[in-house]
């Protein structure tokens, strides 16, 4: 099979047309630079000299976190209207009657969203090299952080695509996709906190089961995964799966989420003739 996906090519043609892609990328990198610059200013005024000399230890995680926040906001929008918008614009029927296979549609649409996402992610590489040069973090940790971010973006693109095949109106599929992200990244820590508080109120101190559950929930969270890379991250001695790094289980969890989303999308696309 030749590697050329007409849908991917078409999406790139219309996405990259004109100034839009360029402006998004420029805006993204500018925003990141401003945030990092401000934090550096505050730091150099107030912090002790030893910390300023190792500014990277603060700036790099901040930069990663800001990027992860942006991924939560923009990754879903890249694919959340992939199919719903075509249905709204009445172009979807023509796509279905063509010889496009469901896999072609899936990989074309998700692939286009991904290349856009990767473009923005790699736009931040110069900034990261800057904060890295300030010391305090290892290259390995940065690589893991990027892996977490890429998997995070791919996963969000994937389930947003699923929503776009399930929901007819593109505004609604966009909204539901963002909501899913919020539930996924905010509800889990909230639940974890809730469990901890609950157990504390019963026994005067959190029981080991609750601590275990809390740490399991943390294992689904990319922000926690990055935090666990920072030295000094608290990890109780006898917690479940202690030997498995948090970031690894989080990445695996997201990959499973991604694969099931893609699989369900494919089934949905195969069944397009039964859509109403």
């Amino acid at each position: 099979m030749r590697f050329s996906n007409p849908i991917l090519i078409k999406e790139m043609r219309s996405r990259m047309r004109g100034m839009r892609a360029f402006l998004v990328l420029t805006g993204y990198v500018t925003l990141l630079s401003i945030i990092v610059g401000l934090i550096y200013l505050v730091l150099s005024k107030n912090a002790p000299a030893t910390l300023v000399n190792q500014a990277g230890i603060v700036l790099t995680p901040v930069l990663i976190y800001v990027q992860m926040g942006l991924i939560c906001l923009i990754a879903p929008t890249f694919s959340a209207s992939a199919v719903s918008f075509e249905r709204e614009q009445q172009t979807f029927d023509l796509l279905i009657v063509s010889l496009a296979k469901p896999t072609t549609i899936l990989f074309g649409k998700v692939g286009a969203a991904l290349s856009y996402l990767l473009l923005t992610l790699f736009g931040s590489v110069p900034l990261i090299s800057l904060t890295y040069s300030m010391g305090g973090v290892s290259m390995g940790d940065i690589a893991i952080a990027y892996l977490i971010m890429i998997v995070q973006g791919v996963t969000y693109c994937s389930f947003s695509f699923l929503w776009s095949t399930l929901i007819k109106r593109s505004v609604v599929s966009q909204l539901v996709s963002i909501l899913t992200v919020i539930v996924l990244v905010a509800a889990m820590p909230a639940l974890a906190l809730f469990f901890t508080a609950l157990s504390a109120s019963f026994t005067g101190g959190p029981s080991s089961t609750f601590i275990n559950v809390t740490f399991l929930l943390l294992r689904t969270n990319p922000f926690a995964a990055v935090a666990s890379l920072i030295p000094g991250f608290p990890m109780p001695n006898n917690v479940w799966l202690r030997s498995v790094p948090i970031w690894l289980s989080q990445v695996v969890f997201y990959l499973l989420l991604m694969i099931s989303s893609l699989y369900l999308s494919l089934r949905r696309l195969r069944n397009a003739r039964n859509w109403v």
Binding site: D93, L94, V97, T104, R273
Partner: protein, 308 residues
């Protein structure tokens, strides 16, 4: 080429297409006529492999639309009644996209795109933004896209709807051209006269029921019972009438100046016997035309019962 057997399609309690049967032969141009909401689009969408029948079977080119949708898609060109185009692409990019989706070899794409653009008279728009095209041009662009993979069967759902008179004529000319190219065409309309002059057969649908379908002359014959032949004679029309009335299958013959109208009760295919007979009997004539009843008369006759 197209075969619809006992097809019913329901949406909940509502029956949009009700036990429809239809057969369209190769090279025929079939006019699918019926008022809005009659079930034309629902039927065409099933043929286009976009929805499944509740009951019955449909096939195109011998391929079943339920079990062999890919084979069907390969040989059909479908133009929906309302459709969108990718506004942010250029005209050639739009066609290139669909050519690729239809697996046209990359080396042949450019040539084919030029061909369909020429056929639809859009050559000068090659590098234009789709956004900048007029409604009629978008319609022709969609038709151009429909032809990229050289389909044998065209399913055109109200191709002229929403167009100004000039654009309508252009679309009609195009369909005529495609008909000359030997394609089997199913074209729907809620306006009868739009199809009258280039269809070889028609089907009239109303409230999901196919009221009549077949060759135009057959429907005419079935309805009026007989064919009226217009004969322009060179000599005395009265002599011609006498000769004609000797035949048992001519029920009535009247003259109107040099033109004789004869009502023929035989089969439509047998009118040539009358011509041969007249010549053998020494009647000199300059014109001999079996007149089919006006399509509109047929339509009124057929739908009168159903609408009332």
């Amino acid at each position: 080429m197209i075969k619809i057997e006992n097809v019913t399609k329901t949406f909940g309690d509502f029956t949009a297409v009700d036990a429809v049967n239809l057969e369209i032969g190769k090279g025929e141009v079939f006019g699918f006529i019926g008022p809005n909401g009659a079930g034309k689009t629902t039927t065409i969408k099933m043929l286009a492999t976009l929805s499944l029948p509740t009951e019955g079977t449909l096939s195109v080119g011998g391929f079943d639309i339920v079990r062999q949708p890919r084979e069907v898609r390969r040989i059909i060109g479908y133009m929906p009644d309302s459709f969108g185009v990718y506004e942010d692409l250029l005209v050639w990019e739009y066609l290139d996209y669909f050519a690729a989706l239809y697996q046209v070899e990359p080396s042949r794409r450019k040539g084919i795109i030029n061909d369909v653009l020429e056929l639809t008279d859009l050559t000068i728009k090659y590098n234009a933004q789709v956004m900048s095209l007029s409604r009629g041009m978008k319609q022709r662009l969609c038709l151009a896209k429909t032809l990229l993979h050289d389909p044998d069967v065209l399913l055109l759902d109200e191709p002229a709807s929403g167009l100004d008179p000039h654009a309508r004529i252009e679309i009609r000319e195009l369909i005529r051209e495609l008909c000359r190219m030997g394609k089997t065409i199913l074209v729907s309309s809620h306006i009868l006269t739009e199809l009258a002059d280039f269809c070889s057969s028609i089907g009239i649908i109303e409230r999901g029921k196919m009221l009549a379908a077949g060759r135009i002359d057959e429907i005419t014959a079935a309805l009026s019972g007989n064919v009226v032949i217009e004969i322009t004679v060179k000599g005395d029309p009265l002599a011609a009438i006498q000769v004609l009335e000797e035949r048992e299958d001519i029920t009535r013959a009247t003259s109107d100046g040099r033109v004789v109208h004869a009502e023929f009760t035989g089969a439509t295919d047998d009118v040539d016997q009358v011509l041969e007979y007249l010549i053998n009997r020494g009647v000199r004539l300059t014109a001999f035309t079996p007149a089919s009843a006006d399509l509109e008369d047929i339509f009124l006759k057929i739908t009168r019962g159903a609408v009332a």
